[in-house]
């Protein structure tokens, strides 16, 4: 079977497209309910998947990435995984600790985008559509199954119709907060570049505004300009999708790695901790210490010292003190005195 494909990339791409087509086949009740107005998004998604795998494989083949991913996947089914996943991918607890402003901004942006995708892609691939049963009642069909009936003028239906409007406002608010921060925060100002930091924000803003314009056109202009706006909107979404794996937005599909990393640290930490070769205190799992040594060796970096240890086997304070010994010849790391005030607190 491995010989059937020219490369790992070809195989992954083929498999994904086939799986997607099968899901479309089933979801659209055997290709009977395809919304052809949305076919551009479908083509865009196929192009996106190609770019995504290209970028993802290049990334995952790097020695440190490969190691953590491989070991992290083996440890995927841990008791703590659901909680870690929710905190890292859903509630963004760690961003909350970086600041309420950034957390609010990220929730608006992140969930605005995720919810939009949850609405858009099922519609694009025909996994979800609406039919009108009796007068005044809508039937929600998911994967060919009638899931629920809602009143056409009820509040659930209202949420359905306006889901993308609501998420558009979320994204616009998030983008504005992010732009404000980028224009004022010193650190951000120093490190940001237009293509990496601003472009994705402008793209999201453009998508949200053109999306809202569709609604505006429907409500206030009797649909004037609707075909043009919908094409502009569609193209902006497709462009962003294709760009997604190559810019800042790539952190969205790559973020689950942080759950793997957390599991990796927790699981191996429970197994065995590495004792510092100088002071004997445990500072990291033995597994990670040897993994880092291995990764560095693959990069032609070796920190084997003549004292008989690798620097990755020393705890951080000892490693810093050891450097003092290399600077002065005095074995600072062997003097049993806790490092003095390092926190500028007087």
């Amino acid at each position: 079977m491995d010989r059937a494909f020219a490369s790992k990339f070809a195989k992954m791409y083929f498999m994904t497209v086939v799986a997607l087509l099968i899901l479309v086949y089933v979801g659209t009740r055997f290709f009977t309910h395809i919304d052809l107005a949305l076919y551009g998004y479908m083509v865009g998604t196929f192009v996106f998947i190609g770019g995504f795998f290209y970028r993802f494989i290049a990334w995952a083949e790097r020695p440190p990435t490969k190691l953590i991913m491989k070991k992290g996947l083996k440890l995927l089914f841990r008791k703590s995984t659901p909680q870690t996943s929710v905190e890292h991918l859903g509630t963004y607890r760690f961003i909350f600790k970086r600041g309420v402003y950034r957390w609010t901004q990220h929730v608006l942006l992140g969930w605005g985008c995720i919810l939009s995708c949850c609405v858009t892609f099922p519609l694009v691939f025909g996994w979800m559509y609406f039919t009108m049963g009796e007068n005044g009642l809508y039937t929600v069909v998911a994967f060919g199954i009638n899931v629920m009936q809602v009143k056409a003028d009820g509040w659930i239906a209202f949420l359905f119709y306006n889901a993308l409007n609501i998420t558009a406002f979320m994204v616009i608010a998030g983008v504005c907060m992010a732009l404000y921060r980028r224009l004022n925060n010193m650190q951000a100002k120093a490190e940001q570049t237009f293509t990496y930091d601003f472009l994705p924000l402008y793209l999201l803003l453009f998508i949200s505004i053109t999306g809202l314009l569709l609604t505006f056109s429907n409500i206030f202009l009797h649909g004037w300009g609707h075909p043009v706006i919908s094409l502009v909107h569609q193209w902006s979404v497709i462009l962003t999708l294709i760009y997604l794996p190559f810019g800042k937005l790539a952190h969205i599909p790559f973020r689950p790695m942080s759950v793997l990393a957390k599991n990796y640290r927790e699981a191996y930490g429970e197994q065995q901790m590495k004792a510092c070769k100088v002071c004997g205190s445990s500072f990291v799992s033995s597994e990670q210490s040897s993994d880092v040594i291995q990764v560095l060796a693959q990069n032609d970096i070796s920190f084997e010292m003549k004292e008989g240890f690798h620097l990755a086997e020393l705890c951080l304070p000892c490693r810093r003190k050891y450097r003092m010994s290399r600077f002065t010849g005095i074995p600072t790391h062997e003097i049993k005195v806790k490092e003095a005030n390092q926190h500028a607190k007087g």
């Binding site: 440190p64 650190q187 951000a188 970096i301 450097r323 003092m324 290399r326 926190h343």
Partner: protein
């Protein structure tokens, strides 16, 4: 004109101004990212500052699974990009000097970024701009060459380097503490 950070270890009096200044750098969130070490704490008061030396081939960035540690054109090895850092802490284990710090709550590594907001404009980093004894200096490459020339005068002259004190080439240059004999060090 390209300038670089130069550490004249002899001069350090352990005042920790550099630590305090570090906390005030834009984006450092009032937490310092450098260190000051007692060399022989039970015997004398000699201290030496230690901060990221901005390796030319940084082990932290090489060991990062998320490519979160960027290296700028100027050679500054930046703190982890917040959206990329996955909190694995490989960098803290890989760094030969033990520099990167890790915030468990924020699930984020942070390290000396050579005050990139300042140094990219040619302004000295916070630590160098406050150092009262000229331990931390922000100098041009010509000035560095001049200093190194002066230190190469003889076997016992200040700051001669009997062995390689670092692991590989760094963008921050150091001058080891040494013995003054016959030559006056002028800073």
């Amino acid at each position: 004109m390209k300038k670089l950070l130069y550490i004249e270890m002899d001069n350090c009096i352990g005042c920790r101004s550099c630590l305090a200044a570090c906390t005030q750098c834009g984006g450092h969130d009032e937490r310092n990212r450098n260190y000051v070490y007692d060399v022989n704490p039970l015997v004398d008061r000699q201290t030496i500052p230690l901060m990221c030396l901005h390796c030319v081939n940084p082990a932290c960035a090489r060991s990062c699974p998320a490519q979160a540690i960027q290296i700028t054109e100027e050679g500054a090895v930046l703190s982890a990009l917040v959206e990329k850092c996955i909190g694995c802490q490989n960098c803290t284990i890989a760094c030969p000097y033990g520099i990167p710090k890790f915030d468990e709550e924020q699930n984020l590594m942070y390290k000396c970024d050579l005050c990139y907001d300042r140094t990219k404009e040619g302004i000295p980093p916070m630590c160098a701009s406050v150092c009262p004894t000229n331990t931390l200096q922000w100098i041009t490459e010509e000035e560095l060459a001049e200093k190194q020339e002066r230190h190469r005068l003889g076997k016992w002259v200040s700051s001669h380097q009997p062995f390689e004190p670092l692991e590989g080439e760094t963008n921050v240059k150091i001058s080891l503490p040494g013995i003054l004999q016959g030559v006056q060090k002028l800073f």
